[in-house]
Symmetry: C2
Subunit: 345 residues, 2 copies
DNA sequence: CCGGAGTTTGACAAGGCTGTCATCAAGCGG
DNA sequence: CCGCTTGATGACAGCCTTGTCAAACTCCGG
């Protein structure tokens, strides 16, 4: 009573299937892994047996033997950030397609032993590859641990390029340029800008794009109109407060992400300013929040789900040649909603 | 050159550690698993070796040999739902504490082969246990697949109780009762209610609580004031539209979740109604959105992160005796913010 | 100093799968 | 009909750990 077709509790294993199909376990393995050199007839017999026994390969045995994992990791700094849902959504869809599972882990930028924890994670040989999200995508500790470990990883929206490293991004500078130009096109001259978190790669790029657009339109940059934020709602409130109490306040505010833009909206309300009549507001990311505030936010859609899907694809593919493209650049899209309009005369 | 302290690329394995410490692999295993009957001296030697070689047990080998997994799964219907972040946050924190990893998977209520997919997931013996979130926590297909598979699972906020099944919940009926009573206490008599998605367990409970509070205050239930929603922002807009165009419109609206409450806010704006002067609005869940809209929402805080943490704990503990508590009931909390006030005279 | 109980340790077989290499059958040119 | 190549299949080791069981050692009372 060791093993066998005995339909007891235990799930069938590869030996059961082999016995049932009248072939060797290796042949079953071949069929399951789509290896070449199996007669269609044999293949069918195996497949039937698989069906009949509801066989599913044990993922641990598989991983152990083949020294590869079918689990892809995503690491976040802050699981409450707006883009998390989008990333998971995109990654999950692609994982399913490619036969992987998705494992989530959180690492806080500041925590001690960060590098050590990252190493532990990969040393367990748990992961096939890792998706690194901002701001972790620029964390020296995480990055060097990852490099050292030899695990493949792809960085989402990193600030600094790294040689020989997989990346997925949009052109943040161009996107911010476009958004700023949209506001200028509407007739705004005094456009406030709320800078994103210094640690996040995209933050600086977006600021550059803003500046470039002003320059392009011949508008002189007013440093008073550029205030530091940290991508959080709270920081957006503070930044908006400063901008709106300026002697010569801006007629439009472009916040580096939607959370801060939502904060601007609410601060403007508090000051008795109507949006967009008295103040245009635009955000960035097109997260859920953009559509849920009133008025709906004009923002820049970052195809975050596609970016994550792309990341999974890159990891799923074999390491590829030296010269394979290391970087995927996706398209952004301006989403004009109700929060921006021409300034009052 | 088979194996050994050869500090090549390959990570150290248990044999290396054993050799380095001058003990058998079994002893190393004992130390690592905190099994009894190891001399402190031996333990220290092993621990030193572990340190020296940066050894981390291979999780796949471990799982294969011990027939247990160190991965807990969470399954969602919709990864963009508001509570997802909270659940992951809480679950992740506890997982880390208990030495587990968290794997995310999405199953859509309607998809075909749902049960089959669930079975596949557990047949791979990938998971130690599964956390089932609404509305999956009441999906017959998912539930029966899970029961059949023998994998332990805990349902978050399920509607119907099931025998011999782990559950974590709040008292939704009581919470809705409290919220409704708060509005009544403010002086409201005509209180609209937006019912949640019929598939979600909590939806019905909350509706019951609303009705009970009215009855308790001697207010007759007006069916026109109760409209069906689906927990989505969009459905909230539609429901609000219907309530606000009523001949005798309510002075307060209690939406079954924050997304719908935010939609009410925005619809009210559109109708030129001020909140809370002309219309009080309250939500449920206290998700991010509640603090980000203007005015900030009065809502009922559901300790979602704690619930998830609790779920992980339940799974982490050994199956426990027959009579161990199967259900954890956590406390809710009314959060009074700016969106509710006494009705205009 | 002996027998027995309890503690500490180790040898070795799983566990389910893939990789390597050998084997066997079929196909083909001469 | 022979020898060779190619395609299809199988036997078996190995991946790294834990579980089982036996061996060795310690401690104790008699």
């Amino acid at each position: 009573m060791k093993r066998g077709s005995m339909n007891g509790q235990k799930p069938a294993n590869i030996h059961d299937v082999a016995a049932h199909a009248g072939v060797s376990i290796k042949t079953v393995s071949r069929v399951l892994n789509r290896e070449p050199n199996v007669t269609p007839k044999t293949r069918d017999r195996v497949l039937d047996a698989v069906q009949a026994l509801s066989y599913r390969p044990n993922i641990f045995a598989r991983s152990l033997a083949s020294e590869r994992s079918f689990i892809i990791g995503v690491i976040f700094d802050n699981p409450s950030a707006g883009y998390v849902a989008g990333i998971q959504y995109g990654a999950l869809a692609k994982c399913r397609e490619e036969g992987y599972h998705l494992l989530v882990e959180v690492f806080s930028e500041g925590e001690k032993d960060l590098g050590e924890r990252v190493l532990t994670l990969v040393r367990e040989s748990l992961l096939h590859g890792i998706i690194v999200t901002p701001p972790l995508s620029d964390s020296p500790e995480v990055l060097s641990a990852l490099k050292e470990s030899g695990t493949r990883f792809v960085r989402i929206a990193p600030e600094r390029a790294m040689p020989d490293t997989l990346e997925v991004r949009i052109d943040d500078a161009k996107a911010a340029f476009d958004m700023t130009s949209h506001l200028i096109g509407l007739g705004h001259r005094r456009i406030g800008f709320i800078i994103g978190h210094p640690g996040h790669g995209a933050a600086n790029q977006r600021f550059m794009g803003y500046k470039a657009a002003l320059e392009n339109a011949g508008i002189k940059l007013d440093p008073k109109l550029c205030v530091q934020g940290y991508f959080s709602y709270q920081s957006g409130m503070e930044a908006a407060e400063r901008l709106l109490t300026l002697k010569n306040r801006p007629t439009a505010i472009f916040a580096s992400n939607d959370d801060m833009a939502a904060a601007v909206l609410s601060t403007a309300h508090k000051h008795g300013l109507r949006t967009p009549e008295d103040l245009s507001v635009s955000g960035f990311d097109d997260t859920l929040i953009a559509q849920v505030v009133w008025p709906k936010l004009t923002t820049c859609r970052q195809p975050i789900a596609e970016m994550a899907a792309q990341a999974v694809s890159m990891l799923a593919q074999p390491p590829a040649d030296k010269d394979a493209p290391k970087e995927a650049l996706l398209e952004h899209e301006l989403v004009i909603r109700e929060s921006t309009a021409a300034p009052n005369a």
